[in-house]
Amino acid sequence: MKRIVINPATRLEGHAKIAIIMDDNGEVQDALFQTVEFKGFESFCLGRNAEELPVITSRICGVCPWAHHMASVKATDALFSAPPPPTALKVRELAYNAFMVHDHSAVFYALAAPDLLLDPDTPRAQRNILELVKRIGRDTGAKVLTLRKAAADILTIVGGRATHPIFGCPGGISRGLTAEDISTIREKSRQLVELAELTNKVFEDSVASKKEFVDLFNTDAFVNRSYYASLVGKDGRISFLDGDVRVIKPDGSPFEEFKPESYLDHFEEASLPWTYMKFPYLKNVGWKGLREGEDSGVYRVGPLARFNVAKGFSTPKAQTKFELFRDTLGSPAHQTLAYQWARVIEILHAAERVTELVDDAELGGKEIRSPLGKVGEGVGVVEAPRGLLVHHYKADERGVVTFVNLIVPSTHNNSGICLSVKKAAQHLIKGTDIPEPVFNRVEMLYRAYDPCLACGTHSLPGSMPLKFELYDSSGRLLRAEARGL
C-alpha cells in the first residue's frame, strides 16, 4: 500500500476530519481522526489578572461553559490560597449538577437519540432531532424542552446567566442564594428529576432492553479495552467536582490514584504528524502508539470511565440504574456506545443531587467567600460532562497570569476516538461502496464520546464542521462528505 501523508496544513474549512485509507484489497488499512485545535489560549491569557480567568475560560465553549468556569474557579481557589467556605461549595455543586442535567440531556436528545431511537436505515438527512420530534410527537418534544429549560433557569438564578456564568470567583462565589431563590430552585429541581426519569425510561424501553442494541454495543469492533481515569469522591463514588484522580487497568484492577495537582506526574502527551491535537497517555505505562490493552498507555475519560472507575452513585435512583448497567454490560464496560447509556444515568444522579442540595441547611448561608491569601500556583480539576478537565495556572505576586495549561476531555480521549473510529471502519467498511447506514455506524462511535473540539465559535453554520474522506491505496480521494456552506 502506498503511504499517504495527510498534511493537516491543507485543511481549510474543516475543524475535524475522518480519513479512511483503503489497501490494495479494498480493506480499511487505517482510519485517522484528524482535528484542529484553536491556537494560542495560553498566550492570550498571559498578562491577565488571574481573577478574570473563570469568566474568560467559560467562553472557550458555548455548550459546556460551566465546566471550564468551575475548573478555572477551582484553579484560582488554589492559586490564591483561598479554600471556599461550605456555603460556596454547596452552591457551586448545586449549579454544577444542574449544568450536567442541561448538558447531558442536550447531547442525548440532539445526538444520541437520533442514532438509537430512529430506524438504522433512516437517511442521514433525516437522522436528527427534527425527525425525532416528528417520531415522538410535538407534545413530547415540547415537554422535554420545557423540562430541560428548568435546568437553564436554575443556572440563571445561581450564575447570573445560563450559558456564561458570572458566578464563581477565587475563594467562593459572587452572590449567595436568597430564600426565594432556593424555593424557586426546589420547585424546578422536581422538573429535572422528571426529565431524568423520562429520559431513562426512553433509553431503557428503546435501547437497553432490546437484544439487538445490547448485541450492537457488544460488537467487538465497537469495544476498546483501555485504561480509564476519573475523579472519585472519598467514598469511592462518582464525583463531578472533588476527590482524587483514580486510574484503573483494562481488567478493572486499580492502577494508580493521585491528587489532581500532581497530574503532570501521571499524564504525558504524544504528537503525531497528521493532526494538531495531542495524544495524552499514562506516563507510567508509556506511549506505545494507538493501541489498546494493558501495555498501552491509552486511557479514556468521560461517563463510561466514571462508571468503570467508581463504585457507583451516592443517590438512590441513579444507583439502581448503575447496577442495571453493570448487570447488562459487565464491569469494566469497554463498549464505546455505552457512553450514551452512562450519560443518561448521570442525568438522573445530577437531578437527584440538586434535590438533595436544595434542602441543605448551609445552602443559604451568608459566608460565601474566603479572603485571598498568598498568590502562587493552582490546579483545578473537574469531571466535565465529557470527562476529566484540567486547568493549571501560575501567577506573580500581583495575581497576573504567567502560565496556563489546559487539558480538555476530548484531548484525553483523542486516542480512544482514533481507535474506535479505526476499529469500526475496519469492521464495517469493505470496498469503496459504503451504504449510508454503515457510514453512520462509524460516526456513532465518534459521537459516543461527544468530542468538544473548541465549539466556542459561533460563525455560521453554527456547528463544528466535520469532513469524511475515503482514499484508495494510491491516495486518490474516492469520496468526501462535509457539512458547511
Binding site: L12, E13, A16, V36, F38, K39, G40, F41, F44, I56, R59, I60, G62, V63, P65, A106, A110, L111, R124, A125, Q126, N128, I129, L130, V133, K134, R138, G141, A142, L145, K149, A152, A162, T163, H164, E443, R447, D450, P451, C452, L453, C455, G456, T457, H458, S459, L460, P461, G462, S463, M464, P465, L466, K467, F468, E481, A482, R483, G484, L485
Partner: protein, 156 residues
C-alpha cells in the same frame, strides 16, 4: 395578535471576528423597539431563547475562505441548513431553528439571518479586523430598518 420581534446577535468575544454579532448588539442597544439578545451559547439554547418571539433576525459571522471579508449576506434557515453531512458536538443553529419552527407551529412567523463574512477563526484573541469592524454599523443600520419596517432583511 401582537407581534414580538427580536434581533438575536451571536458571537464569541475571545475568538476575534467571531465577536461580530456581539458588536452589532452593542451598536443597537437602546435604539430600536425590539428585544436585542446578545448570545454566546450553542444551538439548542439559542433556539429556546427565541420561543417568545414571532419574528426573529439572527445576526452572526459566517466563515469564508474565498469570499470578501466584511461583506454582508442574507440567509434563510433553509439556506443555512445543511442536512447532508456529519454531526459533531452540539446541535447546529440551523437544526435548532428548524426544531423551534416545528415546535412553535404558527407562532414563529419568520426567521432571517444576516451574516458578515469572516476568515475562519483558529486563534484566540480579541482583535477585530478592520473590514469586519466597518461592517458593524452597516449591519446595525439594516437591522434597525428591519425592525421599523418589519420587512425581510434581504429586501433592505
Amino acid at each position: 395578535m401582537t407581534r414580538k420581534m427580536a434581533v438575536v446577535c451571536l458571537g464569541n468575544p475571545i475568538l476575534g471576528d467571531d465577536a461580530f454579532g456581539l458588536l452589532v448588539a452593542r451598536e443597537l442597544e437602546g435604539t430600536v423597539g425590539a428585544d436585542i439578545l446578545s448570545l454566546e451559547g450553542g444551538g439548542l439554547d439559542v433556539a429556546l431563547k427565541l420561543i417568545p418571539y414571532s419574528q426573529v433576525l439572527v445576526v452572526d459571522a459566517i466563515e469564508t475562505v474565498a469570499g470578501k471579508v466584511g461583506e454582508m449576506v442574507e440567509l434563510t434557515v433553509e439556506e443555512l441548513a445543511t442536512s447532508k453531512g456529519l454531526e459533531g458536538h452540539a446541535l447546529s443553529l440551523a437544526q435548532a431553528l428548524e426544531a423551534l419552527q416545528l415546535l412553535s407551529g404558527d407562532a414563529l412567523r419568520s426567521v432571517e439571518i444576516l451574516a458578515c463574512r469572516i476568515r475562519p477563526v483558529e486563534t484566540y484573541g480579541e482583535a477585530i479586523s478592520p473590514a469586519v469592524r466597518a461592517a458593524v454599523r452597516q449591519c446595525a443600520k439594516r437591522a434597525k430598518a428591519w425592525v421599523l419596517e418589519g420587512a425581510p432583511a434581504r429586501n433592505l
